[in-house]
Symmetry: C2
Subunit: 272 residues, 2 copies
């Protein structure tokens, strides 16, 4: 199922890009499992687009468990046997008016820590999709949100620790979420990919890419989990843009289009 | 003393840059203390150069304590009262043949955690200086290392948890280290700042800048400590370059100058 999701997302992206093709790498994880990374780099529409799937298992250190599990009340002390399968993707378009998209859907299982045998086995689904624009087009955000259940930041649907229905039902929910990504995102890209832009708008996109890198490397639980369980670094960091910029204490002029984006990030809105 | 160190480093950098001037911001930390950030951006020689000093105190969460302290055998459970003073700097030159320099020297004090009163108060010095070139010039690395005591990676002197001499003596050791930065680095910059370079050499520097961002945001204990104690984000992230690049699975051709740098990063050498 995650293979099919990867295939259909990549096919849709290649079609909209028109020039770039995905390059594929299969990899195995020394501790158990492996994955397939597909990356389209420097295409006509996308600066960088990565779609990873992985099925990994083994034993994870306590720090990785903290990154994997949303609920903090459940601190396992020792190394934790685990199984995880998922799809994750970040799409960075070239045009500053076309938003970056991230999505990730995953299934987790953990056993009792090695030093407390007999504790119950746990499983849960988690995931989300979110939109990271450099400029706000209210109509795009509304279109995107008409596919959502709950929201976080400027856009998306996020859930975690989901295990209070039967597994089959939750699997179809996660599958449906993954299948909604293409119809939610591609129309926005089609609309914005050829919008004319100037150098200073491109520079603003680069600054927002810098902020994306910061969030991704410092706070993203998927990235942290991957790095702490010895995942393949090149696959984990496919999420980073092709290029980014950091200017000290950059502040857009109040009331400008750049300022409106920042304002929307700081003061979340109900879009629909 | 840290004010003087900041002043003398910035003066030496402005002199070698010739065009760029440091911009200064003073800030206070809501939880206690504050600092002064000085940043030179888009100069003639430096793409971005930041020199921060700070004196902060208050109470830090356990994660911040783990970031602050090198020795892992000393896990404090609750919030820890602390005092920290230090200087830290990252200098990114424009020319791809001129190396990036990082240095940081700091003094720490912690009290017993709030829930175990009576436990002893601790203090220690830590710090280091290291060179991050995009190309290896053996003579530059040798020159730089002639100022060192111990080494890590391609270059530098690092120490931590230093508290087994009297405080005054350790303070003069740390001061001497900080004062060695300028004579160790400026001659390398003078030699390399006008070396001709082509586009592909600049692109390699951008890729290495990307790797720098990765190490800095994921692993750097100073960055982690700053972010987890609610430090001023713009000051903490002054260490990031003006721009950076990530290409998927980039591998330099074996035997090339780019490959030699990677090889030296992977297989540490005794340079002198």
């Amino acid at each position: 199922m995650i293979l099919e999701a990867q295939e259909s997302v990549c096919a849709a992206l290649e079609a909209v890009d028109g020039a770039g093709k995905f390059k594929e790498d299969a990899w195995t994880r020394p501790g158990g499992g492996g994955g397939i990374s597909r990356v389209l780099q420097d295409g006509a529409v996308f600066e960088k687009a990565g779609v990873n799937i992985s099925v990994v298992y083994g034993v994870m250190p306590p720090e990785a468990y903290r990154a994997a599990k949303a609920a903090a009340d459940d601190q396992k002390p020792g190394p934790v046997p685990f199984f995880a399968a998922g799809i994750s993707s970040v799409l960075h378009p070239k045009n500053p008016f076309a938003p970056t998209l991230h999505f990730n859907y995953r299934y987790f299982e953990t056993d009792a820590p090695k030093d407390t045998p007999g504790a119950p086995r746990q499983w849960w689904f988690g995931g989300g999709t979110d939109l990271t624009p450099a400029y706000v087009f209210e109509e795009d955000v509304k279109h995107f949100h008409s596919h959502r259940g709950e929201r976080r930041g400027l856009g998306g649907i996020f859930f975690d620790d989901l295990n209070d229905y039967d597994q089959e039902m939750l699997l179809s929910f996660a599958t449906e979420c993954a299948n909604s990504v293409v119809p939610a995102y591609i129309p926005i890209i089609e609309k914005r990919k050829d919008t004319p832009f100037n150098e200073s708008q491109k520079a603003w996109q680069q600054l927002r890419r810098g902020r994306y890198v910061e969030f991704n490397l410092v706070y993203d639980r998927g990235t942290t989990f991957g790095l702490k369980t010895g995942g393949r670094i090149e696959s984990i960091l496919v999420s980073l843009p092709l290029s980014a910029r950091w200017e000290y204490d950059h502040k857009p002029e109040e009331g400008s289009e750049e300022w409106k984006l920042l304002d929307a990030c700081i003061n979340p809105k109900e879009w629909i």
